[in-house]
């Protein structure tokens, strides 16, 4: 009995410290290394950058460490329009596809909430199921469909909608299709979770007072579902900005999104400092929505 309190605090400390230490070692520290390397010079060596930090050099080493930092890589990003265009392209594609996801996802989520409970469970499972199958496979499935003599063009030709088979692969259209397809579950689920909680009596009240259905939707449903819209939009927007697989497999060489730029700098050009700088700038771009998301999540957790 007497030793319970110290035993508990020891256990408690372990429960916190084990995951804490893991995340610091494998999430925070790597990130700081990226930051450091983005501030160092490219070296023609293996690994291709000047050393991170030499602890054995002591005080002198620390001074050298700070003396060695430079903003050259960031200046380089600013000087080459390639990077700027790549960021703009990523943000543009992410913004438009998030909008499309909302337009497609909202009616779906709304419709699911209007079916009987039993059916709802099945429909939610049906929306989640594709999410469990590999991202890569789902994109590959679209490569099948969109290729020049693939099923889509065959259908279009058979229905005489087009005379010449249009090119789909290596276009922005294909990238949009791939993104909307892959991220649809991420949009539908948070929307459904919010819409499902709405109080039915509100709609009845609106109807009793003679409000037409579209107006009820506009004045009651839509504003009340704003948290779900925000959650869904952020859940989609943020990862889409950094997407690599979809634009790489479906897009053309002209559509270089920022994820591809980092990949190329790293694997093809072996310019690790520039790749790191591109990554740091991307994180800075994404931090704002992440903070908003965090805030929402925390508020949601407090409400529950």
């Amino acid at each position: 009995m007497t030793n319970r309190q110290p035993q508990r605090s020891f256990m408690a400390r372990l429960v916190i410290r084990i995951p804490y230490a893991w995340l610091v070692a494998f999430f925070l520290v790597p990130f700081l290394i990226v930051l450091k390397i983005s501030l160092s010079q490219t070296a023609i060596a293996q690994p291709p950058y000047t050393p991170v930090f030499d602890l054995s050099a002591g005080w002198q080493g620390l001074r050298n460490f700070f003396a060695g930092l430079s903003l050259d890589n960031y200046a380089f990003l600013g000087s080459d329009p390639l990077y700027f265009l790549s960021y703009v392209k990523s943000l543009e594609i992410a913004a438009f596809s998030t909008l499309m996801l909302l337009v497609i996802g909202y009616p779906m989520a709304y419709a699911i909430t209007r079916t009987p409970r039993r059916v709802q469970a099945v429909l939610v499972l049906a929306v989640i199921l594709p999410f469990w199958t590999s991202f890569l496979i789902r994109i590959y499935a679209w490569m099948n469909i969109l290729q020049h003599d693939g099923p889509l063009n065959q259908l279009l030709l058979a229905l005489a909608i087009v005379r010449e088979p249009p090119t789909w692969l290596s276009t922005d259209t294909a990238v949009y299709i791939g993104i909307v397809y892959s991220y649809l579950p991420f949009m539908v689920l948070p929307l459904y979770a919010t819409l499902e909680k709405l109080d039915e009596s509100l709609f009845e009240a609106a109807a009793d007072l003679g409000c037409p259905r579209w107006k009820t939707f506009w004045l009651v449903t839509l504003p009340l579902s704003a948290p779900g819209v925000l959650a869904g939009a952020l859940l989609c927007f943020i990862p889409i900005v950094g997407e690599f697989v979809i634009p790489d497999l479906l897009g053309g060489s002209r559509t270089s999104m920022i994820g591809q730029t980092i990949w190329t700098e790293f694997f093809a050009n072996k310019d690790w400092p520039t790749a790191s700088a591109v990554a740091v700038v991307l994180v800075c771009l994404l931090v704002t929505p992440i903070v908003v998301f965090q805030y929402q999540a925390m508020r949601g957790a407090e409400r529950d």
Partner: protein, 266 residues
């Protein structure tokens, strides 16, 4: 009763069709006897039988399974601890940083996670290979596990734990006898999610892998980059089948459990 308008029904139908049609088409084409997509050469299982002889592919699949098994188990352990710490321990020093480190990787672009992991392994000169992929996947999946288990912990009645402790159970005993059984469905679900995430990952694995540790997605990616291949249709169909059966079985199991009187979420 809420009404389902014809517009609602259409949205639902089109949406579900959009989600499933590509997968169905992929599976159908995997049985196409012809190598060309444009030509339907009749039904055949030849692409499946050719897979058996594809040694590098089988090796990659085996590596992926092992990575996923280890990473999912480690992530489930770490993530559950993290969730318990976040929900049950109130405020402690560094909680904000802790919470940030759990939420940030959820939305962090994979390219950046992969890049930073690789730079860490290079900085401490660890040779990249099987275990570096395991570590990277564990880290990524831990955050998903923590969020799922956390939502379950927030939901359930703390008085159950308090009652057990009032009756003289030690905190550890309380956790094992009361808390763990109640959050077990969430833990099982998050293990499955972690497993699927690891099995699925291409980008992080590409950065952190080394010679001799080519995972299945890396293998598939290098095959399909240059175009559609019927063998790959077959591989993908098998993976879809396995995952589909597993998820449906799991959800049926959860339903069965719920029917037996496990407190369901309100």
């Amino acid at each position: 009763m809420r009404k389902l308008s014809s517009f609602n029904l259409a949205a639902l139908f089109v949406g579900i069709a959009f989600l499933y049609l590509p997968i169905v088409i992929l599976v159908i084409y995997s049985f196409n006897a012809s190598r060309l997509v444009a030509v339907w050469g009749g039904w055949s299982t030849q692409w499946y039988s050719e897979l058996v002889d594809d040694a590098p592919l089988l090796k990659a699949a085996f590596i992926s399974l092992r990575v996923a098994l280890i990473a999912a188990s480690a992530a489930t352990l770490l993530g559950t601890l993290a969730a318990v710490a976040l929900v049950r321990f109130g405020r402690f020093r560094g909680r904000l940083l802790f919470a940030a480190m759990i939420y940030a990787p959820l939305v962090m672009p994979e390219v950046i996670t992969g890049l930073s992991m690789l730079l860490l392994f290079v900085a401490v000169s660890i040779d990249r290979g099987f275990w570096t992929v395991v570590i990277a996947h564990t880290t990524m999946a831990t955050c998903f596990v923590a969020v799922i288990v956390q939502s379950r912990l927030v939901d359930f009645d703390v008085s159950l734990e308090e009652a057990a402790m009032d009756l003289g159970a030690s905190p550890l005993h309380t956790f094992l006898a009361v808390t763990l059984p109640l959050i077990l469905p969430a833990i099982a679900a998050s293990w499955m999610l972690a497993f699927a995430l690891s099995l699925d990952d291409l980008v992080i694995a590409s950065f952190t892998t080394g010679p001799g540790a080519t995972t299945l997605p890396i293998r598939i990616y290098s095959e399909v980059r240059l175009g559609v291949k019927p063998e790959m249709n077959a591989v993908c169909s098998i993976m879809i089948g396995v995952v589909g059966i597993a998820v449906i079985a799991a959800s049926l199991l959860t339903k069965l459990n719920a029917a037996r009187g496990t407190p369901a979420r309100p």
